[in-house]
């Protein structure tokens, strides 16, 4: 069986290679800092299960300090010039898209067919992890296709991968760190406090007020935690179950489904949803660190209003 832990080892080896290449890159004035950062990231992937909880905590703080106190450098491995890339693009034409399409093809195959395939009496891919494993395998197959097809040197994947990882920089770490922060919020009971405040602070004497409190609460709490999944149990237990479903007789399926989507409107507007809103800023070299959020907010706010109207109209049909 191909397990997710195998994917972690591959990721660990690749990050370890970035660390070594960073250390050897004399053009990067911060090469040792970059080497340390990617090296610690590699250690997390390779041996995170053996460090213990406290050990992992120390590892995360070391990563955060390495990238947060002072800044990481950007490795710029030597590569073809812009003119050479244009010539290469003209030479290979649409063949360039072939490896790029291999990734979705493999993910498609893995998540639809691969999950039913068996090997040696067990499933071929670790159950529930089929998509991530397929993504990793797809990336490797795409690489195996691209190197000979496009006549690229063998060292290119690691050097170009390092260039792109350095472009993402500290933001690479943020999504995982925010997930960990969510766990600490849960430990501390932040959700219960917020849910209690909303339920106590907002008068739920009309159906409209309760709908607004739930939808806006989902969006707002998602914005401060970065994750609609963290907001859902809090706001549903605090507002939806007692008021919308209990007092006003709303349909639980419609209330909860539209409530979750109201949370997603919040996800579009918070830097704490880092993999969606911060990582692309780095990948696309945007100067405005909130550029993606600014492009999304004018969609998110009207959509939140639409959600409130939809819930008000659709979830209470049985009662007129």
């Amino acid at each position: 069986m191909i397990k997710l832990s195998f994917v972690f080892i591959v990721a660990g080896l690749i990050f370890a290679a970035y660390a070594v290449l960073s250390a050897l890159d004399k053009t990067n004035p911060k090469r040792w800092r970059n080497a340390l950062f990617w090296g610690l990231f590699a250690a997390s992937f390779l041996a995170g299960d053996h460090f213990g909880d406290l050990g992992n905590g120390v590892l995360v703080v070391a990563l955060a300090v390495t990238a947060g106190v002072g800044t990481l450098g950007r490795g710029e491995p030597a590569g073809p010039s812009a003119a050479e890339k244009h010539a290469s693009a003209a030479r290979f034409g649409n063949g360039l898209f072939v490896p790029a399409l291999v990734i979705p093809a493999v993910v498609l195959f893995g998540s639809l067919v691969g999950k039913h395939m068996h090997m040696g009496g067990g499933p071929l891919l670790e159950p529930k992890q089929e998509t991530l494993i397929s993504l990793a395998i797809g990336a490797m197959i795409a690489l195996a296709v691209a190197l000979p097809l496009l006549r690229q040197p063998l060292g290119a994947p690691l050097q170009e991968g390092r260039r792109l990882m350095d472009t993402v920089g500290w933001a690479a770490l943020l999504p995982q760190m925010l997930a960990a922060l969510g766990a600490v919020f849960t430990l501390a009971g932040v959700g219960k406090v917020v849910g209690g405040m909303v339920a106590a602070g907002i008068p739920m004497d009309s159906r409209a007020a309760a709908v607004a409190a739930y939808c806006i609460g989902m969006a707002a709490f998602t914005m401060i935690t970065g994750n609609a999944f963290a907001a859902f149990p809090v706001m549903t237990a605090g507002v939806a179950l007692p008021f919308l479903i209990g007092k006003f007789g709303g349909d639980p399926a419609a209330v909860c489904a539209i409530g979750m989507l109201s949370g997603f409107c919040g996800t579009l507007m918070t830097p704490l949803a880092a993999n969606f809103n911060v990582v692309p800023v780095r990948l696309l070299n945007l100067d405005d660190r909130y550029g993606v959020i600014r492009a999304q907010a004018p969609t998110a706010i009207p959509l939140l209003i639409v959600n409130m109207v939809l819930m008000y109209v659709l979830a209470f049909r049985a009662h007129g």
């Binding site: 460090f51 290469s88 935690t225 639980p252 009207p302 639409v306």
Partner: protein, 221 residues
């Protein structure tokens, strides 16, 4: 109430512009300690969750092949492909991508596209080329606005498509949470309620893309 101090720290820290990694570490320590836990307990909880969430970072495994393709001229090819079709405006391109992303996400195919897989190497260069084909070379602020809109379109598409899929995490979370509260629902009963919002998201974001496209297709004054 004191435990909300950590939440406030995150909001203020991000707003002021401190390094987000340090803000998160400090907020975790403050929140955990305000709730009566020792720093070591907080650190252990934090480290454990970090380790359990390594799957989030697996997407970075696509970067080596994306980098190789870019080295071989993928972005340039994506540009010239779009520049060759003068009928493809940025609005058509992005609305088409939005629909593609919503439909495939509704089938559970979240990872076939994304910011690293498709936006940076393909869709963003195509969107820039679609505008350049009409108005000529574009300046840097306009280029950045186009890129940001492209990234936003990917997020809107995936967020408001995925909940139509039965086996996505958020649907399973709702089913699990509600059953603990004595309300037993099938995933399908929840996922059908994602359809009206998905249509609204397509209409609102699609409308914005049309207006955005009209602004971009005008030459710089």
């Amino acid at each position: 109430m004191l435990i909300l101090l950590g939440v406030a720290l995150v909001v203020v820290g991000f707003a002021v512009g401190f390094n987000p990694l340090l803000v998160v570490v400090v907020s975790a320590l403050v929140t955990g300690m305000a709730a009566g836990h020792t720093p070591l307990e907080v650190l252990a909880t934090f480290g454990k969750a970090f380790n359990q969430n390594r799957n989030i970072s697996v997407v970075f495994l696509v970067l080596p092949v994306i980098g190789v393709l870019e080295r071989a001229g993928l972005q340039e090819r994506a540009r010239s492909l779009i520049a060759g079709f003068r009928t493809i405006s940025i609005a058509r391109l992005l609305i088409g991508y939005l629909g593609f992303r919503q439909l495939t996400a509704a089938l559970g195919l979240i990872s076939i596209a994304g910011q690293a897989q498709t936006i940076r190497p393909l869709v963003a260069p195509m969107a820039e080329a679609a505008v350049e084909a009409r108005v000529g070379p574009i300046d840097e602020p306009r280029r950045q606005a186009i890129r940001a809109m492209t990234a936003a379109t990917d997020n809107v598409g995936v967020f408001f498509g995925e909940d139509i899929f039965l086996a996505i995490g958020s649907i399973l979370l709702m089913v699990g949470f509600l059953s603990q509260s004595g309300i037993v629902l099938e995933p399908l009963q929840l996922s059908v309620w994602a359809i009206p919002t998905a249509i609204a998201a397509f209409a609102i974001h699609g409308g914005r893309i049309i207006l955005f496209g009209r602004r971009q297709d005008r030459p710089t004054p």
